[in-house]
Structures are given as C-alpha cells and as structure tokens.
C-alpha cells in the first residue's frame, strides 16, 4: 500500500512541477520583453515591446526601419531629402508625407499665433547651436534670418509645396520626431503588437499597457537632479522640452535653443514643459509652441484643447499643472 501511495505522490509532484514549468515557459513566451536601441534623429531611440518573441522582434525591427526612413526623408542635411532640394534649389515638394506634416505644422502655427515655425534650423545655425560653440549673435544677424521665415511665401496647392521667395528655407525638426513615432506605432500595431514603449531621446509614446500594469514614465526636473515625479499611462505620447537641453550662459543669462519666432531670441518664462496627448505629432509640435507661448497663455490654451495635458516648470521654479493632471503625478519618494 505504502508503495502505491509513494507512486501516486510522485506522479502528483511530477504533474505539478511540469505544469508550473509549462506555465512559466508559456508566460515568458507571451510576455517576452523585446528591447532595441538605435541611434537616429540626432539622439537614441529605444523601443520596448511585450509579446511573443517572434512577433515583437520582427515588429520592433520594422518600426525602427520605418523611423530611420522618416528620419532620412525629413533630415534637411541629407542631400537626398526633398527638403534639401527645396531649400537649396527651390525644387517644389510633392512627397505626400512631407506635405501632410507641413500642413500639420502650419495648422499648429496658426492655432498658436505664430509660436511654432518651420525654419528653426536657420535660427539654431545663427546662434551656433549646430556647431561646437554657441554664441550670442548680433541683432542684425537675427533679423536677417527672421526675414526668411515668412509664411506668406509658402504655398501648398494641388498637393505640391512651393515657395515664392527663393531664400525661404524650411525644416520640420519640431514635428518630425512626433511623426516618426506615430509611424512606428502604426507599424507595431500592424504587426500585432499591443504593448510597447517608444523612447525617442526622452520623447515617449506608450502603446497599451505593460502586461497587467500601466507604463511608468518619469518626468525630469529642469533644474534639479531629482525627478518631478512619474505618470502612469497607456496609449499616450508624453513629450518634453526644456532650456536645459542645449544652452550657454553669457553674463549670467541663459541662452537656450528654443526660440521665439517673433523675436529670434530664446523664449523666456519656462524652464521645462511636458505635454501629454494621444497623438505624438500633436504632442511634439505643441510642446515647442507652448514653451514659446509661456506659462500663462500656454496653460490657458491647453485648457481649451481636448485631450491635452501639461506640466510646466517656470524659470522661477514653480510647477504648473493643467486641470486634468493635478492629481496624476506620482511622487518620486516612492521610488527611492
């Protein structure tokens, strides 16, 4: 009898162990975390995707490829880009992707009373933010650049972008990253990924949830080493801008790389902004526009935009929240 019982117990143990291992293998297959990093768009891009390895590794590869494709097309320094030909030879653009993004950029420009512009790179260049040594340019230099940012010299007609003044140059730096992220999300979804996170140099899109919980995204404090806190999100783009990314200090004054298109000088009032919106393109373009508009006007406008939320830190160190976000920010003390 005892022998029989031992056998039964042995079988039971074996079943339990094999069963649990099967569950473990199944789970690690189902909840495999694929992670890939590539350097592009003048920064890094990391994509995390949760799901069966076969699905996620292919999806992440394709999403990365797509982002590199967008990067190449929208890079004004790439001689093969239609933007390069437009800027240097005046060749009109009929590429539907570029037309769409230019259209979106013009819409944001209109809605933000000119706080968002296409030719930021001309200003970056005159301020030396492209090279090794940024500098304070003379007034006349800035005015000369501003002359060539006139929107009335751009025309979109019959899905073709033309310019009526030769010297006009455009670049889509303030919106192209959002577009690249949007395209990557499309690829991931098409390939069957329902859970992913794209981190493009600190601009983040969270697709679905991370397994059973929400994605946790920290927010940088523009002045300190600590974080402001973190948000738990799904299906949202969270993008940041700040005067800490590229800047120099002269005579005690900080000059950074986000310019007010009306003056040609760095926008004042905010040290950093985080913008949250379901659409990464909207998030990318508006976070620059709102940074330029400043805290009062910016917050008021966010209140009128459906689905848009923001956290702003002023140059005096005050943190401002849009109404829908007040209680959403989790404190970082829980982390450390």
């Amino acid at each position: 009898m005892k022998y029989k019982k031992t056998k039964l117990a042995g079988v039971l143990i074996a079943v339990v162990v094999i069963g649990l291992f099967a569950i473990r293998i199944y789970n690690s297959h189902r909840f495999h975390l694929e992670k890939q990093t590539r350097f592009m768009m003048d920064t890094y891009v990391t994509i995390y995707a949760v799901g069966p390895e076969k699905v996620t590794s292919r999806a992440v590869d394709l999403a990365m490829d797509r982002m590199q494709e967008v990067d190449a097309k929208f890079n004004i320094l790439n001689p093969k880009s239609p933007l390069y030909a437009f800027n240097h030879q005046g060749t009109s653009i009929s590429d539907p992707e570029i037309i769409t993004v230019v259209g979106l950029a013009l819409a944001v420009r209109g809605a933000s009373w000119g706080a968002f512009v296409l030719p930021v790179s001309a200003l970056s260049a005159v301020w030396g933010f492209f090279g090794d040594s940024p500098r304070l340019p003379r007034d006349q230099e800035i005015k000369a650049v501003l002359k060539n940012t006139g929107y009335k010299h751009l025309r979109i007609k019959d899905n073709t972008l033309k310019k009526t003044r030769k010297s006009i140059r455009i670049d889509l730096g303030g919106i192209a990253k959002g577009y690249a992220i949007e395209q990557a999300v499309k690829v991931l979804k098409k390939e069957g990924v329902t859970s992913a996170l794209i981190d493009a140099g600190g601009d983040v899109y969270a697709l679905g949830k991370k397994g059973g919980r929400l994605w946790k995204v920290g927010l940088r404090d523009p002045r300190g080493e600590e974080l402001l806190g973190y948000l738990e999100v799904e299906d949202l783009a969270i993008m940041g801008s700040g005067d800490y990314e590229r800047f120099f200090v002269k005579d005690g004054k900080r000059y950074h790389h986000i310019f007010d298109p009306k003056t040609g000088y760095p926008a004042r009032g905010l040290a950093g902004i985080t913008l949250i919106h379901p659409d990464p393109v909207v998030s990318d373009a508006w976070n620059t526009a709102l940074f330029v508009m400043g805290p009062e006007k910016g917050l008021e406008l966010v209140g009128r935009m459906p689905g848009m939320e923001t956290i702003m830190v002023t140059t005096e160190g005050k943190t401002l929240y849009s109404s829908g976000l007040k209680d959403q920010l989790q404190h970082i003390s829980k982390i450390e």
Binding site: M1, K2, K4, K5, T6, A9, L12, I13, V16, V17, L20, F21, I23, R24, N27, Q36, T37, R38, F39, D42, T43, Y44, T46, Y48, G131, D132, L197, D199, G201, G202, D203, V204, A206, K210, W215, K216, V217, G218, L219, R220, E225, E226, L227, Y230, I238, M239, G240, G242, Y244, E245, R246, T274, Q330, I332, K334, I335, E336
Partner: protein, 136 residues
C-alpha cells in the same frame, strides 16, 4: 477475479505519518516552483543599483553604483564618474559635449546619451516602482 478488498481500500485512505510527510513535500515543492515562476523576475531586480552602458545598442558594461570610481570607455574617448550612487560623463571627446552637460543621473529609467560616440547609459534600480522611461 479478486477485486480490491475493503480492508485494503480503507488502509489506502487512512492517513499515516508517512502520508503527512508526502503532503508536506508536495506542498513544499509546489510552493517553491510557484515562487520561482512568479517571483523569478523580482529576484533579478533585487540586485543593487547599477548603471548599464550600451554601445551601438549592444550591452557594454554593468556598473554597480555602490563604489565611487571612474571608468574609462572606448579606449579613453569617454570617462564616466560614479559618486554617491550617481553617475555622470566626466569627459568625452565629442564636439558638442551634450553628454557632459547632462550632469548626474540617479533615478531608474534616466539616461545619458552621447550620439557621436553611440553610447547610452541607463540607470537600473532594484526598488519598485521601476520607471520605464524618463521624459526630458
């Protein structure tokens, strides 16, 4: 043909000390396996804080943040410094010095990137909640 005798059946269902040992063993093994499968991830996370350095997207080094020191990367192109459980790029040969001006990082999910050198430094901390990314 003789079927199971009633006496034998009875003894089969009677609990003996040996059975108790078996039941405890089964429970023990099952619990152990469940813990192993469910909490395996947490065991991995309960290591000390570290910075993970990637070069061209590939893992280059795991650096524990416990000990203050300097680390030379890419044959001296970059020097990292670890101090008070924080890490920064102390020196880099890149033109714009964006990685150096980024300063110290210490929270999980924070990164320093040097595009010219294709270096990414990421903080990993054991304690939950672990951040998936940091917007900056």
């Amino acid at each position: 043909m003789k079927r199971d005798n009633p006496a034998g059946k009875e003894s089969f269902y009677r609990l003996t000390p040996f059975d108790v040992v078996l039941i405890v063993l089964i429970l023990f093994v099952s619990t152990g396996v469940i813990l192993f499968t469910e909490l395996g991830l947490n065991w991995q996370l309960s290591e000390t804080s570290e910075a993970v350095v990637y070069h061209e997207g590939k893992l280059l080094e795991h650096l524990s943040l416990d000990k203050d020191r300097e680390i030379t990367l890419l044959e001296g192109k970059m020097i990292l410094e670890i101090k008070d459980e924080r890490i920064r790029v102390k020196k880099s040969d890149c033109p714009r010095q964006i990685c150096v001006s980024r300063g110290w990082i210490k929270s999980s999910g924070q990164v320093i990137v040097c595009v010219p050198n294709k270096i990414l430094i990421e903080i990993k901390k054991p304690a939950a909640p672990l951040l998936d990314a940091v917007v900056s």
